[in-house]
Symmetry: C2
Subunit: 200 residues, 2 copies
């Protein structure tokens, strides 16, 4: 069984979205698989006092431009959604419910949910939207509706955020290689170096 990388992200995070488009192919080059870990970064922001960048003077304007050029530089499609930000509970619950059954399908769900939000502008925090993305992957609508209300699933997703904070996660994306954390989509170069060094 290959060693893993852990990829923490918030479904509402643009930089999480950009990193998500590259993390699997980067890991594959070093014979690693990636465990995707959606969470709600807002709870970490409460601990660090951080605010969403888009709401901050100077930074907000910088970000809007930055996401457009990230899209061009990384060759990843992008359109600023409205509403932005969202609290992405529904896709998080669907993701972990799927993951318990089929981790490949769960990852495809996450990719489709990110694209639905950051390319097609669909509000994936709305349960119906989160459900439809699963149904489009061949999942039973009844089963996913039921899962969204299941207390075990609710608790499972809820617990991911404090667990991540315990590991040191304070932003999205946050990538762990052999327990060492890397914050931000700008750190792919350092993640790559780490993977090269720990190859053997």
């Amino acid at each position: 069984m290959s060693k893993t990388i852990e990829f923490y992200f918030d479904f509402s995070s643009p930089y999480g979205y950009f990193a998500s488009a590259k993390i699997d192919s980067l890991a594959e080059k070093y014979h690693r698989s990636v465990i995707w870990k959606p969470m709600l970064i807002g709870a970490a922001f409460q601990q660090t006092g951080a605010k969403p960048m888009v709401d901050i003077p100077l930074k907000g304007e910088y970000c809007r431009h930055d996401w457009q050029r990230m899209s061009l530089n990384m060759d990843v499609p992008w359109a600023l959604p409205d509403p932005f930000l969202i609290t992405a509970v529904a896709p998080g619950r669907v993701f972990y419910w799927l993951e318990d059954q089929d981790s490949v399908l769960a990852k495809q769900y996450a990719k489709n949910a990110y694209r639905a939000y950051f390319v097609n502008g669909q509000n994936i925090s709305e349960p119906d939207v989160a459900i439809d993305i699963a149904v489009a992957l061949g999942v039973s609508q009844e089963a996913v509706c039921h899962a969204l209300q299941d207390n075990t699933i609710k608790e499972r997703f809820k617990q991911e955020t404090p667990d991540a904070i315990t590991l040191g996660v304070f932003g999205s994306p946050f990538i762990f290689v052999d327990g060492e954390g890397f914050w931000g989509s700008d750190r792919m170069w350092m993640v790559k170096k780490k993977l090269q060094q720990s190859k053997w």
Copy 2:
């Protein structure tokens, strides 16, 4: 006369220090010269509500580790100074005073001041230390002492910070290529792409 890049930084900023070790050689590859612009990033932090990362829960611990690995990954010497942070008024004043006479000398002064702080742990916010670094470059001690108290120099350095904020600077380092801003030492890859694209 070659086109320029503007490099904004705070003498107390670790990421500014790391970027300062690479920015000139990167620019040279694309036949650009770099205008170094020390400022006090604290005033920008007041506008954005940012705090120094090192004081923030979770982020502080991350940073301490991150600076060490930046040093290894970028091959730039590093030792966390004490005290950290400092308000680097003295080296800022000396820098602009020198720049009015000799921009090459001023840049060498900035590099030496950065190394004095982040390699040798000297408190460059102390006027005597800031002066000694200039004297070691062959500058008259009397002249630099006088300059540090000169109202024109004081005003010159003071004005750099609001001028930078007006341009959108909210962190250190902040690099402008043809008016487009790039925040952070992690953005060298994108600065490079921008320079490649605007080559002709």
